[in-house]
């Protein structure tokens, strides 16, 4: 640890590292390409503006993106809540079984669930939920099906995150709590889980960020999410690049914002932590 820190300090004092130089050259190259393609000429700007107007401003087309974003956020939030609940239940079953609880069948069930849902692509699961399991549910808002599909899928990952968090706590903690006369449940609730939670919060957040991006396949079952909204604009204006790049920028801004939140949260959680 000390070694790497010292190395970092050294390289910083030397100025730009090799990576910065490569990046710089790359950026210059991109600028040259843009210049070469006539991007900086007045005509190109006019064309860019005209297409921008066509894609987003005319007939309030940006509202299609706004509605898509609403749908994306709605699905992500719903799926997150389901994922948390399912993940918590699954991890409790698995940890309790390891801790000596007599629930072999439940444990087997939880294991199977996690294996199957983590072992198949979320998009395939989404298609199965919509076209096989809920085939006859036509008045049901498709978004709810997507929430269920993404939520149950996420639950399998969240379960592993929780389990990892609980197992990362030194077994000595449990032994100490038990030796003080606390029951297994009480030690879990008041000694192990609070510490585990602190470890898993960043990972949970990352899972939700992944989930946000995962919902971009919802267009397949007819949901006009953010990605699909971009495609709808494409179909309307027959313009390929601008709607997609705009969609990418919106995703990126949300992800950056969430990442920023995680960092703040991490700082807040590690307040008063020793060592």
């Amino acid at each position: 640890m000390q070694m790497t820190m010292r190395n970092n300090l050294c390289s910083r004092r030397e100025g730009a590292g090799r990576g910065d130089i490569v990046l710089g050259i790359f950026a210059l190259f991109l600028l040259y390409l843009l210049y070469d393609s006539g991007f900086f000429t007045a005509a190109a700007w006019q064309d860019f503006n005209r297409r921008f107007y066509q894609n987003f401003v005319k007939d309030s087309r940006y509202m299609m993106l706004v509605d898509g974003l609403k749908s994306t956020i709605f699905m992500t939030t719903g799926a997150t809540l389901i994922g948390l609940a399912v993940g918590l239940i699954l991890s409790v079953i698995r940890v309790a079984y390891k801790g000596g609880a007599d629930i072999p069948m439940l444990n087997k069930l939880a294991n199977t669930y996690i294996t199957v849902l983590r072992g198949t692509p979320a998009m395939v699961q989404l298609l199965i939920w919509n076209f096989t399991i809920f085939a006859s549910a036509r008045d049901l808002n498709t978004q709810y099906i997507a929430i269920l599909a993404f939520g149950l899928n996420s639950g399998a990952y969240v379960a592993e995150i929780f389990r990892g968090g609980i197992e990362s706590i030194d077994p000595g903690q449990m032994e100490a709590a038990r030796s003080l006369g606390l029951s297994y449940g009480t030690s879990m609730r008041f000694v192990i889980l609070p510490q585990a939670l602190r470890n898993v919060v960043p990972m949970l957040f990352n899972e939700f960020i992944a989930l946000l991006k995962e919902t971009s396949v919802a267009g397949y079952i007819g949901i006009d999410d953010l990605t699909r909204a971009g495609q709808n604009i494409q179909a309307l204006t027959l313009e390929h690049s601008q709607p997609l790049v705009m969609v990418a920028i919106i995703y990126l801004v949300i992800v950056l914002f969430l990442t920023h939140l995680v960092r703040k949260l991490e700082e807040w959680l590690s307040r008063g932590r020793r060592g």
Partner: protein, 265 residues
């Protein structure tokens, strides 16, 4: 060493991209060219027939027409096989495209149903026959083929909201103007207006489900929607898996869209 290698690779790639090729003249030439089509459309089947054994290496299928046209303009492929009407719209809106004079085939469009749903098929056929007889269908086509249909507002189409007979779910892929197109939060297009009239004649409310084209057969066979209407070509292969209404478009041309500077008439 790595850098030199990267440089060589870049040079090689560039020279590939700018290599001169003879211009396209006839559709016969397409048999050995890189082609593209929208996934699940009849354009894909036509391209597959053209290419024969070479379809594995030469055919690319895209989820959306916009993607296929972008690939064409970037030189990734030499021609897109698609329906003539949407192709014409691309020619109007996107620079540097051309349609090859020779068309590849002529197709008929019909509405698709779950296999064995004869009751609905005959009800829709009756409605279609009435629309053909009293000129309603012609009027809808005229509205979209002659006028500037981007001015059509979704809210002007009567979806027969609150109809007593329940809902009529129709699956479509709203990226196929002038047949179906999403505008704001609603839909316009020939198919949409036609289905609206059919729904009215059946005493039901029209509900549009917008999904990817290759998901439509799945949606109708699992009863997710009552019928699918998206400029669907009647083929023998499709007839094995779904039932069709009477044709509402006869002789829709399938054409090859190419780059204008790559085409010699």
């Amino acid at each position: 060493m790595k850098k030199i290698f990267a440089l060589l690779l870049a040079v090689a790639l560039c020279s590939c991209a700018f290599a001169d090729e003879a211009k396209l003249k006839t559709t016969e030439q397409l048999k050995t060219e890189r082609l593209a089509a929208q996934r699940g459309t009849v354009g894909q089947y036509i391209a597959e027939d053209l290419l024969g054994d070479k379809k594995g290496s030469l055919l690319t299928t895209y989820e959306k027409y916009v993607d296929a046209i972008a690939a064409l303009r970037q030189g990734k492929i030499r021609a897109v096989v698609m329906d003539e009407m949407p192709a014409k719209r691309f020619l109007n809106e996107v620079e540097g495209l051309a349609i090859m004079d020779e068309s590849l085939s002529e197709e008929n469009y019909a509405i698709g149903f779950r296999k064995g749903n004869t009751e609905l098929v005959s009800a829709v056929n009756k409605a279609l026959a009435e629309m053909k007889a009293d000129g309603t269908l012609d009027a809808i086509f005229a509205k979209y083929l002659n006028g500037d249909y981007t001015a059509v507002k979704p809210e002007d189409i009567d979806f027969n909201k609150g109809a007593k007979g329940g809902k009529l779910y129709v699956g479509t892929e709203a990226g196929f103007a002038p047949y179906e197109l999403k505008v704001g939060t609603g839909y316009i297009g020939i198919d949409v207006e036609m289905c609206a009239v059919i729904a009215k004649k059946l005493g039901r409310e029209l509900v549009i489900e917008n999904m990817n084209f290759d998901a439509l057969p799945m949606a109708v066979s699992t009863n997710k929607v009552d019928m699918i209407c998206a400029g669907i070509t009647v083929t023998d292969e499709r007839k094995e898996n779904m039932d069709f209404s009477d044709n509402y478009v006869v002789g829709a041309k399938q054409v090859a869209v190419v780059r204008a500077d790559d085409y010699e008439k």
